[in-house]
Symmetry: C2
Subunit: 221 residues, 2 copies
């Protein structure tokens, strides 16, 4: 199967590239976080709130991935963080080559936190390792609590799951306990944070988790 | 670029396969509809409602696409339609080869409507032609009205857009007019149906559209 062989080779090269890029982050004590979700789960709103809360204490840079448009980068730039928009021109995920095109423009010596917001897609982004210490998957309540069962790879590759749009819980059929059980079946013990990036509920727990990781990286933890 | 050449060849073979499969549908006067959306936009609920409303007049078969699980096929089977679940085992879309594995088990002579519910993904399914006369994209209001700008290919390949979960409009930031304008910028004039598959709002317009297509196919139109 030629197609499979080609794809395996692509994934192996991508892994190697991501490892060397992660070394760049490590050399400067920068924490890298890769945020993934389906379309419209609220990644960008979460990034906006994160920048608002942390930018007075931590130096943050954001890489935005979208097939087209700079809508998300414009929103993040308005919050004061450095940001680059990658347009994948059809590709369903970010990868190491795209990172390589952006990294030379980032001054890692002047940075604490690199947030990568992946393309909105619960499938492909999980297959391509990026220069990040932690993967975070955001699932929103209107999507339904069956998503870990249907899209297991993304959840099993995550270090934290954010259940966003809890403000909509009264109006949608979503079983938070079932979601948590399904996540833990794939990856026992990982934290599942309940959040409304819109109202601010759960935001302190999220930035608390991030700051713990930042302090670990800075060696104060 | 070897990877691009391989992918072009895959897409061309897939197109040829889909064309020959569509001929099978045409030979038996069967209408094929491919429903696409991001995860959790409500495709399966829409299919359930459709089967409930039309099964007394039309013979319906459903092919369900998911990376894993048979959750969706179980739901559709409970409504009385014939159904096959395809598990893509990681692949982010359905394709002609997967259809080829399922087609021999379907008695097209005893069928009016074939509904294909694609993998929940706003990117990849749009690249792989399936044996369907019409593509339908479902977008749900919590996802936000910017989706056609960020995922243009899927919308530009669609013949109908369903805006689902209108029951959540009071609780989310969604501009239906902006969504419609963005869709029409990509594909002028295509119908945009407002719907709540949950409450039944807009369901008559949807089944009306389907029945017009069914009648055209049967030569009564």
């Amino acid at each position: 199967m030629a197609q499979v062989r080609v794809m395996r080779k692509v994934l192996a090269s991508n892994d190697a590239l991501a490892r060397s890029q992660l070394e760049t982050l490590d050399r400067h004590g920068v924490l890298g976080v890769n945020i993934m979700s389906g379309p419209g789960a609220g990644k960008t709103t979460l990034v906006e709130r994160t920048v608002e809360k942390l930018l007075d204490r931590w130096r943050i840079y954001v890489i935005e991935g979208d097939i087209q448009s700079s809508l998300d980068a414009d929103r993040v730039a308005a919050r004061g963080a450095g940001v680059t928009q990658i347009n994948t021109q059809g590709a369903c995920h970010l990868d190491g080559m795209m990172m390589a095109s952006v990294f030379p423009g980032i001054d890692f010596a002047q940075l604490d936190l690199l947030i990568i917001e992946n393309v909105g897609n619960l499938v492909c982004p999980a297959e391509f390792t990026l220069p990040a210490h932690h993967n975070v998957t955001v699932i929103s309540t209107p999507e339904g609590s069956d998503k870990p069962v249907k899209y297991p790879l993304m959840f099993s590759k995550s270090d934290l799951v954010v259940v966003n749009k809890t403000d909509l819980l009264p109006y949608v059929d979503f079983d938070t306990d079932a979601l948590e059980a399904a996540v833990h079946k794939l990856k026992p013990g990982i934290p599942v944070l309940r959040m409304s990036a819109k109202t601010g509920e759960g935001l302190d727990a999220w930035t608390g988790w991030l700051e713990e990781r930042l302090n670990e990286r800075k060696g104060d933890g």
